[in-house]
Amino acid sequence: MAAETTSVLGVFAHVDTTLQAIRDLRQRGFADLTVYSPVPVEEIEEEVERVRPLSRVRLFTLIGGVTGTATGFFLTIWSSLKWELVTGGKHPVSIPPFVIIGFELTILFGGLATLLALLVLGRLPKLRPSPTYDPRFTLDRFGVAVACPPDRAGDVQTLLAGAGAEEVRR
């Protein structure tokens, strides 16, 4: 990352113009894009995700879930062995009732791990707003922010305007 980069932001009112801008920019070799949208739009997502690995949230969920199952069975079996009380003529370690604890903890740990994933991977909470953010992006406007060397900013501005941006700013 060179210190010498600048950001150009294009504000769009439509899904198709936003898509066009992303495609044009990619074609011209601008890879460092940030796309803002008020709602997740599948077409934009597909276009952006094309060059990215799959989100790793599910890995967190899996690890959390497996940890939960293990904890559930460990807690129940271990404490039953500490209190070796026979009830109803059954062995202190009776698996069927422990499945319930195992299941609940699978969901609990899996859910909390998913939350953790969202915070870690999505970098939340975000303490200060990005310089390219505009409050209209939670209303009805899309934004494409491009990080590029200052000498190419002019190109980017023309490109964004050409794709149909309502407003282009540096």
Binding site: V41, E45, V48, L139
Partner: protein, 453 residues
């Protein structure tokens, strides 16, 4: 196919405007309702120390009726919560688009219902400052953590349910709070800015968000089915006639969804009127909910028939006697009231007009809630009133103390809900926008494609 009906006309900016205007300083009517709810809650809050001072006898608890109205109401509130998770998770996985305009209200209902339900085991425990003994951590207190007890399963199920529903709910709120932040000014803006966690709707945020949301829905779906099954095990694992049945898990889950949808209607209909959300909550939504109430009612009626049939077919003397006592003895009025409210009243929804008629929907929903409260009452109170031998038979009579606490619990629920709708968006801004037609400069042929998913 467009499930939003009229709202296809609304633009994205309209959605922001229509939701954001509901947040803020309310009028006098609102405060009047708050006062009423607050006073009712105060009565419940006054009754509770009295019960601690006098003892559980003040709440009418004496053998064999140790569970009575507290556990009845506990199961009732847990059941109410289920519709919220069903709408937010199950219908999300099924991509049912009509869920978008009701899911926020329903999810808030879930959280507050579970928070209300959670009070009852504590109140019922009497000395609630020992409530932490319920948590079976490996302990130095020489308490036996009995993982074979349904009551311990309950602790795990309910606390997991509350945690996961809360996380799911908050995650859904974040992008909407960001929209509130961007339209607010001054102190409000600062508060919403903190709560929005710096959400900007950038692609890197959305991609993880969407994946996490789907996974939450996938986790919450089996959870919601398990929670009421576990609650039903509190009964089904016991040997009491009328309780000891494998039917209980699906029976409870179905009843929970049934009563939950009735509560959703009770909350959504006034909101639609007061906030003027006719564009978003259309007749189609009411129709869909009424149909779900009808289906769950029919399934419930089938379970009622099964219950009676198995009692007869088992040839078990005590089972038969229990059913006979429920239908004919001191609690017969509650038994037949339950049948009327849960099996007869919802039949009106076979009539198309009734499914969208606000008055009919409202009255039917209230009757359904009464019916479902009495269903749990009928399991617990008459069940314990007439078990194996006459020596243990006994009638329960409510007292002022436990009645005040029960009524107070409704006030507590409504206090939370009324508070919520004035500070948070009670209609999901993002999800409603998602199902509207996306803005296109060059509209394609299949124009009203209804968006993302």
């Amino acid at each position: 196919m467009n499930f939003q009906g009229k709202s296809a006309d609304a633009s994205w900016a309209d959605v922001n405007r229509d939701v954001i205007r509901t947040v803020g300083m309310p009028g006098n009517t609102y405060f009047a309702w708050m006062c009423l709810v607050g006073l009712t809650l105060a009565a419940g809050l006054a009754a509770w120390p009295w019960q601690i001072y006098v003892g559980m006898g003040a709440a009418g608890k004496r053998t064999p009726q140790m569970w009575a109205m507290y556990i009845t109401t506990f199961v009732f509130w847990i059941g109410i919560g289920h519709a919220g998770t069903l709408i937010s998770a199950v219908l999300y996985l099924f991509r049912a688009k009509w869920r978008t305009s009701i899911y926020r209200g329903a999810e808030a209902m879930t959280i507050f219902a579970v928070m209300t339900a959670g009070l009852f085991p504590l109140i019922h425990a009497g000395r609630m400052w020992f409530a932490y003994w319920l948590m079976p951590y490996p302990n130095q207190r020489y308490l036996w953590p009995n993982f074979k007890s349904p009551l311990v399963w309950d602790v795990f199920a309910i606390s997991t349910y509350l945690t996961i529903s809360l996380v799911f709910f908050v995650i859904g709120l974040v992008p909407d709070i960001a929209a509130l932040r961007d339209s607010a000014t001054g102190v409000k803006r600062r508060i919403y800015a903190v709560l929005a966690l710096g959400w900007e709707g950038s692609d890197s945020q959305w991609r993880h968000y969407r994946r996490a949301y789907g996974l939450f829905a996938a986790l919450a779906t089996p959870l919601v089915l398990s929670v009421h099954s576990v609650v039903s095990f509190d009964f089904a694992m016991a040997l009491v006639p009328g309780w000891h049945s494998t039917l209980f898990a699906p029976f409870f889950v179905d009843g929970a969804i049934f009563s939950g949808f009735a509560m959703v209607l009770i909350l959504i209909l006034p909101m639609r009127y007061l906030f003027d959300w006719y564009t978003y909550i259309t007749d189609k939504h009411l129709d869909a909910m009424a149909k779900l109430i009808l289906v769950t009612s029919l399934v419930l009626t089938y379970f009622y028939a099964c219950e009676v049939f198995t009692a007869w077919y088992s040839g078990d003397h005590f089972e038969r006697a229990s059913v006979f006592a429920k239908a004919t003895k001191q609690y017969a009025w509650a038994y037949w009231l339950m049948y009327f409210c849960n099996s007869v009243v919802p039949l009106i929804f076979f009539w198309k007009r009734a499914r969208t008629h606000v008055g009919i929907l409202y009255v039917a929903s209230i009757l359904v809630l009464i019916g479902m409260w009495f269903e749990r009452f009928n399991i617990i109170v008459p069940g314990l009133a007439h078990d194996f031998y006459p020596y243990t038979w006994g009638t329960y009579v409510p007292t002022l103390t436990d009645s005040a606490i029960i009524v107070g619990s409704f006030a507590w629920f409504f206090l939370l809900f009324l508070g919520f709708i004035r500070v948070m968006p009670s209609l999901s801004i993002v999800e409603v926008k998602e199902v509207l037609a996306h803005p296109l400069k060059h509209p394609r042929k299949h124009d009203a494609h209804g968006g993302g998913h």
